[in-house]
Amino acid sequence: MRIGVLAVQGAVREHLNILSQLEIDGRRVKKAEQLSGLSGLILPGGESTAISLLSRGCLLTKVGELASKGFPIFGTCAGMILLADEIEGQEDAYVRAIDIAVARNASGRQVDSFETMLCVKGVADDFPAVFIRAPYITRVGNGVTVLAKHEGAAVMARQGNVLVASFHPELTSDMRIHRYFIGMVKEYEEKEAVL
């Protein structure tokens, strides 16, 4: 199984480390052509404005096309902003792969960044979650399942093949959320094999 990590900028190394610990072949993706041969893609934390500006040659458009065909994608923090259909206070969104609205820096500035234990539906009731200038989910469409909440705000969600989180499982040694995503990738591979 080969899973790509969008490697324009941000916490790329951390996701690749976890994938390698789970014995998954992780690949850096900087260009659209590097998307071929993958069974899933992770959009890491970083600065969403910089990542979107620097994604060359319709890389994000290609990611959107894959998402609409059922290809599994997981976005953390900035990755979640890139995948959302709507970004508060901003006319345009980027990939538009999941029917949610997000608010940038909703948890506040860096002095308000925090760690907490989260209950993540179907994954864990004690997941150590690291929130850094985190975006929150402010609206979810039909077909979107909220998987975790923090103080009433939705912070993790899934719509079919697209998984998003406000926080950074890649900054911890807890691999349960990555395993959950790998489960999604396995289902996709099995379905593709049948087709």
Binding site: A50, Q110, V111, F114, L171
Partner: protein, 292 residues
């Protein structure tokens, strides 16, 4: 339970900036230019290093009104510089809710002997270093991010190269040493033993290490990335050049695509004048900022 200001939260923000460029800005307008060019953060200060060098005088933390304007103008993280040892300037910047504090040799030191106790703060700190011992001391004081010192405000990358190569070499030495040799290395480098243990556990510096001090061109940025740094600080290089918008974008592109000379070549075309550089030998010893 919610815990703020943990070391994981502090160093985590720096991890998110990897592969990006952080630009010195003195006004909100410059901050907006930096953000639009793809900067991952901006660094607020009173005067850019080249002006501090030219004008002399005591260089201090920026005016809080300016810092607030910059905080309001952009959505990317805002860092700000304080003088070495000036813990009250740091308290002021924390009260303003800047996202990172740079305890910087670019400003005039406020304490000739001691750095700030950075564990006492919720806001994270970045500090400069010329070698591994210095980097490890700053980490032991609570710094959650390291950058090379280079020689700021010169537009001359040679010192940053020297510092990055030395740190890499010393890290290799720590990684290949036997456990029995480690204490002696700690003594020679002036590096706290516990931080050296952390380096051996991670196989690298336990925090992010950016390049800073003298980076003026896209090729400078790509070279520092190829030497193994995690990202780039550009001080005077952008806003002291002929076409800041274009140069800012070019340095960002070269940092992202640092392994692709064709992209570095194409973004380097027609950037206008680079900042005027200074040869290190022309700087009188007492004006060297890196020894602070």
């Amino acid at each position: 339970m919610v815990e703020k200001g943990t070391y994981r939260v502090k160093s985590g923000l720096a991890e998110m900036l990897k592969g990006g460029v952080i630009m010195d800005v003195t006004t909100a307008d410059q901050a907006i230019i930096a953000e639009r060019a793809g900067a991952v953060a901006v660094m607020s200060l009173e005067r850019v290093p080249a002006d501090i060098r030219a004008q002399g005088g005591v260089a201090r933390m920026a005016d809080p009104a300016r810092v607030k304007e910059i905080l309001a103008a952009v959505s990317i993280p805002v860092m700000a510089k304080v003088r070495i040892g000036h813990f009250v300037e740091a308290q002021v910047l924390e009260a303003l809710e800047v996202d990172y504090i740079d305890e910087s040799e670019v400003l005039t030191p406020a304490d000739p002997q001691y750095h700030i106790d950075k564990w006492a703060f919720t806001v994270p700190f970045v500090c400069g270093a010329r070698n591994l011992g210095e980097a490890c001391r700053r980490i032991a004081e609570g710094a959650a991010m390291i950058r090379t010192k280079g020689e700021p405000g010169t537009g001359n990358v040679v010192e940053a190269v020297k510092h990055m190569r030395l740190m890499n070499k010393q890290i290799r030495m720590v990684l290949s040493a036997s456990t029995g040799e480690l204490m002696s290395i700690a003594k020679e480098m002036g590096a706290p033993y516990q931080v050296l243990l952390a380096i051996r556990e991670k196989g690298r510096l336990p925090v992010v290490n950016f390049a800073a001090g003298g980076i003026a061109t896209p090729s400078d940025a790509a070279m520092m990335m190829q030497l193994g740094c995690d990202g780039i600080f550009v001080g005077s290089g952008v806003f002291k050049s002929g076409d800041p918008e274009k140069r800012a974008r070019a340095i960002v592109e070269a940092t992202t695509h640092y392994k692709e000379p064709k992209i570095v070549a194409s973004v380097s075309e027609g950037l206008g004048e680079a900042m005027v550089g200074i040869s290190i030998d022309e700087i009188p010893p007492h004006e060297m900022m890196q020894v602070r």
